[in-house]
Each structure stands twice: as C-alpha cells, then as structure tokens.
C-alpha cells in the first residue's frame, strides 16, 4: 500500500500553507485530561465511514489486541506515498512532505515536521508535528517518546501540558476523535 520515494522525487513539491484558522480556544485541550476520558470510555465508538472494513471494527472496545487493527484500518486507509528521513532534525530544521513521513531519529525542540498523511517518528518528538496538514483529521502521529511542544492534526491544534518534559514515556500515538486530539499508548 505504501510506496517509497527518494529525496529527489519530483513529487516532493512544497505544500501550500493551507492551515485553517484555528482559534486559541481549541488549542488548549490538555492532553492528559483527554487520556483520562479515553480510558474511561472503554467502549470507544469508532467512526470509520471511509474504511473498507468498517463493519469489523465498529463498536469494538479498545484492547491491546485490536489496537493495531485500529491503526491499520482507521488511519492508513488512503493510498499515499511515504518518505523516510534518517537522522535527527535539529532546531530550525523543517521537513515537509505530500504523503506520510517516517523519521528515523529525534525531532528536537524548534524543529517542525509537516505531512499531508501520517507522521511516524522512531525517536523523540520534542518539536512540532503537523499530520494531515491539508486538513485530514484521519492522520496520526506516532513517536517513541511523544513530548512535543505542540501537536497538530488536520486543523486541530493541541498544546501539551507544561511541566517536566524529561519524563521518559512509552511509545504513543495521537489521533483525532470527535474533534479532539487523543493520545494513547501503543502496546
């Protein structure tokens, strides 16, 4: 489903900045709270109109077994290209791609990654990631250590709670549901 292209690929055209106006009010959904909510509603309704196998996963409770299924079916359903980037993205660097991005390294504070599809970071995310930057709220952001300053999916912006960012967290992914960004552990 995913095809890989090289850096030199012509498809890698700069994206237009289509970021819709996002009111500050929407910004400050504290993620920690949302996690609590997510844990409370064990019977998560999964909205999967665009999914081919939508029947199979509707109204399933989120368990360790089917969390993988959810990621596969819920998020990466559209066929698009992905780009690999090896190495750390340092302060001031930015990476944009029309498709999904897979980064083998850290995204440091001050760096920015933007993709029209999903973003997978095999490292720490400390900067800003914007998945589905053309407005798709079906995109997700995954990182081994998800401690961004700000996270954007589609036209939703969320700020992570202030505090000690040194905490070593487990792999997590962020996704959108009911217009909010949720963060769940990936197990």
């Amino acid at each position: 489903m995913i095809t890989f292209v090289t850096d030199n690929d012509k498809k890698n055209a700069p994206l237009e900045d289509e970021s819709p106006d996002v009111g500050l009010s929407q910004k400050g959904q504290p993620v920690e709270k949302i996690i609590e909510q997510a844990e409370a509603e064990n019977e998560t309704q999964i909205n999967s109109e665009n999914t081919e196998n939508s029947e199979n996963i509707k109204e399933k409770s989120v368990t360790e077994e089917n969390i993988k299924d959810i990621i596969e079916k819920e998020f990466s359903m559209t066929e698009h290209t992905a780009k690999f980037h090896k190495g750390n993205l340092r302060n001031g660097m930015s990476l944009e791609y029309d498709g999904s991005l897979i980064i083998l390294g850290d995204v440091n504070a001050g760096a920015e990654v933007k993709a029209t599809g999903n973003i997978l970071i095999l490292g720490a995310l400390k900067g800003i990631a914007h998945a589905g930057c053309k407005g798709s709220t079906e995109a997700f952001v995954f990182a081994l250590n998800l401690i961004p300053v700000q996270l954007r999916i589609g036209n939703i912006i969320t700020r992570f709670p202030d505090g000690d960012s040194k905490v070593n967290r487990k792999p997590e992914y962020a996704y959108v549901e009911d217009g909010k960004i949720y963060v769940s552990p990936f197990e």
Binding site: L89, R90, N91, G92, D106, N108, A109
Partner: protein
C-alpha cells in the same frame, strides 16, 4: 598540515572567546604553533582577553583586502613562542569579509606551518558565522547548561552538519556541580542526550576565569584553577590523548561534616 578549528556556539556570552584563548594558550604550552583568529569583526575581544590589544597594527580585514601581508598582521604572543593572534577589525562589520576570502586566509595560514588555527566565531548564525566556519576542518561547539544555550547549540550543530562540518565536539561550559547534584542544573548527560554529539570537555564555573580574563592572561596558565585544568584536559584531547573527564567532587566543609555526623546520630 595544520588543522583549522572553529569555536562556535550560536548564543552569545557562553564562553567562545575565553575557550579560544585558553585552548590557544594550552596548545602553545604543549609546544604547538598556533594561530588564533578573531572572526568577530566589529566586536573584537580576543585581543583583550589575550592582553595583546596594544600591539595591533594591522587586522584580518587588512589582510584579506591586501593592505598588508599576513605575517605583518600576526601578533606574536608575549608569553609563549609559537602563539600568534590575527585580530579582527573593529571599525568594520561582518560584510567586510566573504566566506571565500576566509577560506583562502585559512589556507594561507596553513602554509605558514601552523599546527592549529583556532577561529573565534561571533554569536549568531548570519554572515559572521558563515565566514568563520568557511575554512574550518573541525568545529567545537560551546554551550552552557541552560535551555536557551542548548537550543542554540542544537541549531548550530544542524547548520554545521549542513555545511559538511559533521560530528562537532561539545564543550559544556560553566557547570556548577553543586547545582547539578541538587537537580537544579542540567547535567552533562542531560545535555548530550538532547544534542547527541560527543563531548570533548566539561568546564566548571570558576571565579578565576573572570580574574584571569580581566588580567589578559588565560586561566589555562594558572596551575591551581579548576577551569584551567579543564582546559588543559581539552587541549590534551585535541592533541589526540585520551584523558578522562574531570570529576567535580565538592569539598566538604567542616559544617557539612558536622551536619552529617548529627544526621547519623
């Protein structure tokens, strides 16, 4: 063939000039022929820190503009044979020199049979920075254990890598071991985890640096100075010798010992 080392940081005031002066002196003490180049045109300091301000006749801009020969502009240090300073111009600005001219200057210095050419880079990421790194073979990034300095160091390392100066070494300056122990200051491990580069030295915060800088005699020359010892160690590592990183053990005061005694009881 000589090696050109650029000392940079991004943020100002973290100790680039002090580091340049100390490493220059340290290498000269070790018997090497060293040229210190002040690339901070318009805001020169290295001559003052070295105590050579009153000997400046020609400067870097004069050399690149062909107003004098390179040898005429090089100031011989008053203490160590083999140590020379190429001062920056004070009445000009960074645009007076281009990266190509700096590259040529570095090559000319190498031809003068210098073992090490140390370039003191200005703060910032603009023209002055581009000039300073143009002719460099190797970069040392100076940072202090503060988030702002570490952020800037991260940016600088990214820019160095983009300019084919990969794997720069890090000098962590102005560390206060007591604050690190209390968890009030980033430790060496915290900084290296963020920046993911090799560390070449840790320099403790030391009053003698201020005293020696004001005197115009780098701290590396003072046997009793802790920071001086740290710089001597870095010098050894530049020369390729394996020296373990300094351990900062707080000397226990009498009161501390007394307190401990009571706690035990």
């Amino acid at each position: 063939m000589g090696e050109v080392i650029v000392i940079t940081s991004g943020k100002g005031g973290v100790g680039k000039t002090t580091t340049s002066a100390n490493l220059g002196c340290g290498l000269a003490i070790a018997g090497k022929k060293v040229a210190l180049v002040d690339a901070d045109i318009g805001l020169r300091n290295l001559d003052v820190v070295m105590g050579l301000e009153n000997r400046i006749v020609y400067d870097l801009v004069d050399v690149v503009e062909g107003k004098c020969r390179l040898k005429q502009a090089l100031i011989k240090d008053k203490r160590y044979a083999g140590l020379y300073l190429l001062p920056a111009a004070q009445t000009r600005d960074k645009d007076a020199v281009s990266p190509e001219q700096m590259q040529k200057l570095c090559e000319n210095l190498k031809e003068e049979e210098f073992d090490y050419i140390i370039i003191d880079c200005p703060a910032g990421i603009e023209q002055g920075f581009k000039n300073a790194i143009a002719g460099a073979d190797r970069a040392l990034v100076v940072t202090t254990p503060e988030v702002s300095a570490v952020r800037d160091a991260d940016r600088i390392i990214g820019l160095l890598e983009a300019n084919e100066l990969s794997s720069p070494s890090l000098i962590l300056n102005r560390v206060r071991p007591d604050m690190v122990d209390r968890g009030d200051m980033m430790s060496m491990d915290d900084v290296t985890e963020i920046l993911a580069v090799d560390i070449i030295g840790v320099v403790p915060d030391d009053e003698s640096i201020v005293v020696q800088t004001n005197k115009g005699e780098p701290a590396v020359t003072v046997e009793s100075s802790k920071a001086g010892q740290a710089y001597r160690n870095i010098t050894q590592r530049i020369l390729g010798n394996d020296v373990p990183l300094m351990e900062f053990k707080q000397e226990e005061s009498f009161m501390d010992k007394l307190k401990k005694l009571f706690h035990k009881g």
